[in-house]
Subunit: 151 residues, 4 copies
């Protein structure tokens, strides 16, 4: 069986937040308030507290904010399931924007679709608001550097 | 003939920069130094001056910075060829990251592939450094709100 | 609430199969054995019976076969939830291939992510074999022609 | 310099056509008349002679036909620049459909955007008709199997 159910996290949300603040401080200083809130076998949840600084024309959350969240979700998929692999990088990201989000927490629910030899594929559903509407959906691929030690 | 050669810009780069600073100030305050440097029939060039604030782990330009640049390129395709349409929004963006970029200007060379009734499709080639290497390639779609007056 | 749970099918799987055979006979004569097996609120399941005619080098199911299945899934999302809209067309499709499939049924489990005014966005998980492994994952967008009567 | 200009083909269009007919006969028997017409440093041109068998509802060329052409273009990018690598497979394909095509030759003009250690990234512009209109644009990624001998 090669499905995500065989996967097991090796870092907690707190450990990931501390690690990201250390190796990628710009994420928070530039983009603001991105945190990992949950880690589970085969996936994770990453959150941004959206506010005016994340808005674009029309007072809705900007595309770049949602893309940053979706991309961060893939990085946390890698970290949570492979451990400290700072140099894993995005190979591809595809995102569909479906509805408008405004202020408040936006959660990216991420699932690892494949954890292969050299690539991790995931998808992310971005939900916002009291009604948990899906505001965007993304799929992405991260590279796993050669020589990465598997947990 | 429906190709891009029939297209003609209706705003200059300076007009676009002033307009974006007005309707989307977060672009510059949050993400830093994104400017339109060129507008031509069927396309545009958008630039970010990449510096440490745009880095991720590994001291290379982060994915979110490049996605923001590619997304901005689509917005400028809309503005430059349709005029002031602030509420045009991204529908889809797909990006492939190919090489690492570091400090210095990164230019997104954007081409309008289709300017339809309700959608604009474009691609963007992101080039960096003295050797003008292609660091990423994106395609995207922007919505054109109903009722937009065509130039 | 704008989520998929508010959606309701207006055609059965049998009605869709008869309709597609009528308006798009090439699907079956050229590509072979694509059928809708299930329709439910907010989604559908489309199946191909993969055999040697669908193979590529390496005796695995070809990319074009899986892309056809994923694309067909979006068409059936439209038909099942909007009725007979033959001229709805694909606007965008993005697909990640994750594992190899061989002979036997492959099912595309499709979910409508957004049914808007002029666009339908969906995703499709393609599963194969006794272990139901996910061999590919796609997201796509179909246009809804102006003037389409809503059920 | 890492750009495509450093690339050089190692197979001719005729050699590729003979090779594909041998290892992937289904391409022609199932999908019909896909041929490589040109190979050049950093890219290639692949053609389908579209006819009624490639149509969908509305008597226009179907999405699966255009996706097959775009995918085939990536395979020919690999073969033409790396030689006989039958088991190179598609990892990701993203395609935007922009205009309708009908009967006649459709050419996929393909460019290698990156030829890396384990992945080849390319884009394809699909043009049709006397006016050479762009009917679709795709970007894709092929895997390069470990152990592939570089020319």
């Amino acid at each position: 069986m090669t499905g995500p159910t065989a996967l097991a996290p090796v870092m907690t949300a707190d450990e990931i937040n501390a690690y990201v603040a250390d190796v990628y401080p710009q994420l928070t200083t530039q983009h603001g308030e991105f945190v990992t809130t949950e880690v589970f076998p085969g996936g994770c949840v990453v959150r941004v507290e959206a506010g005016e600084r994340h808005f674009r024309a029309g007072d809705t959350v900007s595309g770049p904010t949602l893309m940053t969240l979706a991309d961060m979700g893939g990085y946390v998929c890698v970290l949570s399931h492979l451990g400290r692999v700072p140099l894993s990088v995005t190979v591809n990201l595809n995102i569909n924007f479906m509805r408008k989000a405004s202020a408040g927490p936006i959660d990216a629910h991420c699932r690892i679709l494949k954890l292969g030899r050299s690539l991790l594929v995931y998808d992310a559903e971005l939900v916002w608001g009291r009604d948990r509407i899906v505001v965007a959906h993304a799929t992405g691929t991260y590279s796993i550097p050669p020589g990465t030690v598997r947990p």
